[in-house]
């Protein structure tokens, strides 16, 4: 029996209709994109920049986002509230809490919980930093502390989704995907968006791979998670008996078969797969080299407190610097362990011990190498914690979204300042309020993108990272 060769003959009516839709759509798209598409194809890079981007001269080339997953307490890190200390043990005034979203403290009597540590002032401008973070104290003159963050989601997963995509609706692109999609990646041998996770502290909350998904952007811009212990990427070695040259020939043949197939079926996922296989081959040599810390001095390893291959936040910070050196566009670290509903002092000690020094080391190391000026570092959780007491095993705090702290450094952000403020009890952001969308707008701005002009058409809407409700670049913190 002779089987038909032409896949068109194999198409059923329904498949035909749906693929015809895509086909017409992609014809329209490519004629709209016109020159852009061919320019992109001409580029050697697997992750070319969109034409017309950046919109203006960028201050920063890359982002390192240090996500303290679980939600660190602003009241024990950067936001000192003497009034809360005074009110300790007294009922929280209902004028603050009435009608407000509450997570686990629902239906319970709300009492004030004073700061569980001491604060001191550091640096030229007297930045207030808690005793939990002695290494942050050393970089008081390098970081810009934003004390007036607000978000819209009070539970971990949707709050991460909100922080990453600007909305709580699942399925939108993560900011790392947006940046890589817009600006491309200059790294020839590594993905443009890399994710690393570590754990340590109280009740590590799950982080789903959705958090680095591309949503409606092409799937090649999806974050690639590296293992933080063992081999960073599984299966980077060819099977036994296959030389690198043979492997290269294999991948060339696979890609030729795929592009030949794609001439007929025109599926953008095949184009992504061709890019993925090309990158996979490059990673077979670049990843072992990336992970080989033998070219780091003992001094550097000690500075981070990193033991190669231990999967710690410290090792991830060192890896982040190595990724930054290799021109990876967006490096996203998650440290899971900041969900301090109870035993806050104990767990703050644990989390601070694991993250404080390595964070300082990363910033200092980048600075020493002259890379801090074009690397934007962002530190923070998905939300903050309540001024009210929660007692799940010793004093702790519940989730809180109306006011919390984050910091930014490098990449053209004014160093050594604090911006914004919460009220006297640390409940509501009241001065120079910074919404997550404003944070995104500012990050985009530092990388040369006007967030209002960075749209992608999807389902009849002009989608953007900063949404439609309006967002502002925080001009006051831009150097």
């Amino acid at each position: 029996m002779q089987l038909p060769n032409d896949p068109q003959l194999l198409l059923k009516r329904r498949t035909f209709l749906s693929s015809a839709g895509v086909g017409l759509g992609s014809m329209a798209l490519s004629s709209l994109a016109g020159k852009d598409a061919s320019a992109a194809e001409a580029s050697k890079s697997l992750y070319p920049a969109l034409s017309g981007l950046p919109h203006f001269a960028a201050k920063a080339k890359r982002v390192i986002f240090l996500c303290m997953a679980g939600g660190p307490s602003h009241l024990e890190t950067f936001d000192y509230k003497p009034k809360l200390e005074e009110m300790h043990g007294k009922p929280m005034p209902t004028s603050f809490t009435e009608g407000q979203p509450i997570a686990q403290l629902q239906g319970q009597s709300l009492k004030c919980q004073g700061p569980l540590t001491k604060f001191k002032k550091y640096g030229k401008n007297g930045q207030e930093i808690s005793d939990f973070l002695p290494y942050h104290a050393k970089m008081a003159d390098d970081i810009c502390i934003i004390k007036s963050m607000v978000t819209e989601q009070i539970n971990h997963d949707p709050a991460h989704t909100f922080m990453n995509t600007g909305t709580a609706i699942s399925g939108r692109p993560s900011m790392g995907s947006w940046f890589t999609y817009g600006l491309g990646s200059e790294s020839e041998n590594l993905p443009g968006f890399v994710v690393l996770t570590s754990t340590g502290g109280r009740n590590p909350q799950p982080i789903a791979s959705r958090q680095w998904g591309t949503g409606f952007l092409p799937s090649r811009y999806q974050g690639v998670q590296f293992n933080s212990s063992g081999d960073p990427v599984d299966y980077v070695r060819s099977p036994k008996g296959i030389s690198l040259e043979q492997q290269k020939q294999l991948i060339t043949t696979i890609n030729k078969l795929n592009s030949h197939r794609n001439e007929k079926v025109q599926n953008p996922e095949i184009a992504t797969r061709i890019a993925a296989y090309e990158m996979a081959f490059r990673m077979q040599t670049s990843v072992p080299e990336l992970m080989d810390f033998s070219d780091e001095t003992q001094e550097t390893l000690d500075m981070y407190g990193a033991k190669p291959g231990d999967g710690s936040y410290a090792s991830n910070c060192l890896l982040a610097r190595r990724l930054a050196e290799r021109d990876v566009r967006f490096i996203h670290l998650y440290h899971r362990g900041w969900d301090h509903h109870g035993g806050l002092v104990n767990y703050m000690n644990i989390c601070s011990k694991l993250t404080d020094q390595p964070t300082w080391a990363l910033l200092t190391d980048l600075k020493q190498r002259g890379m801090l000026e074009d690397t934007l570092i962002v530190w923070g959780g998905e939300f903050g914690r309540t001024p009210m007491f929660q007692g799940k095993g010793g004093a702790g705090r519940d989730h809180h979204i109306k006011g919390f702290s984050m910091w930014m450094a490098g990449g053209g952000i004014k160093p050594g300042i604090s911006y914004g403020a919460t009220d006297e009890l640390g409940y509501n952001s009241v001065e120079n309020i910074v919404h997550v969308r404003d944070l995104h707008a500012t990050m985009l701005h530092q990388l040369g993108i006007d967030h209002n002009r960075f749209n992608v058409k999807f389902q009849g809407l002009d989608m953007r990272l900063t949404g439609v409700e309006g967002a502002n670049v925080i001009k006051e913190i831009v150097a």
Binding site: P206, A208, V224, D234, P239, G241, I242, S243
Partner: protein, 146 residues
Amino acid sequence: MHWQRQFLHPMLKAFDAPSREECTAQRSVSNTPNAALTLLNDPTFNEAARKLAERILEHGGDTDDSKLDYVFRLAFSRVPDQTERELLTAFLKTNKEYFSGDPKHAVELLSVGQAPVNGKLDKTELATWTATVRALLNTSEAITRN
């Protein structure tokens, strides 16, 4: 497939499988270099390629063309077109040279996985076809339904 919550199987992780720590209404599309590396280099897939190569040598007829027809029907429910035939014939040729150049390579590749090797088959020939099946099973057409 073995599932363990605390340690996700590396292959599943490469395809962004949920950790099962929470519900997942919709899986994210996973089309990454990590997934490519898994399909290329995970012993499971290389073992599968070898077993399919054994079938080709046993049932695929005497010529390269008839073998290609046979494996295309199994993998894609169609026969190769002219371009595919030329690409794969060239690929077969260089692989045959590679594996007959150093018999150690063939022995090593065939040792991947736990399934016993069909000892009746010529090792160079089997390694050459194993390599070819690796190429076919890594195409989009083989990996996805669409």
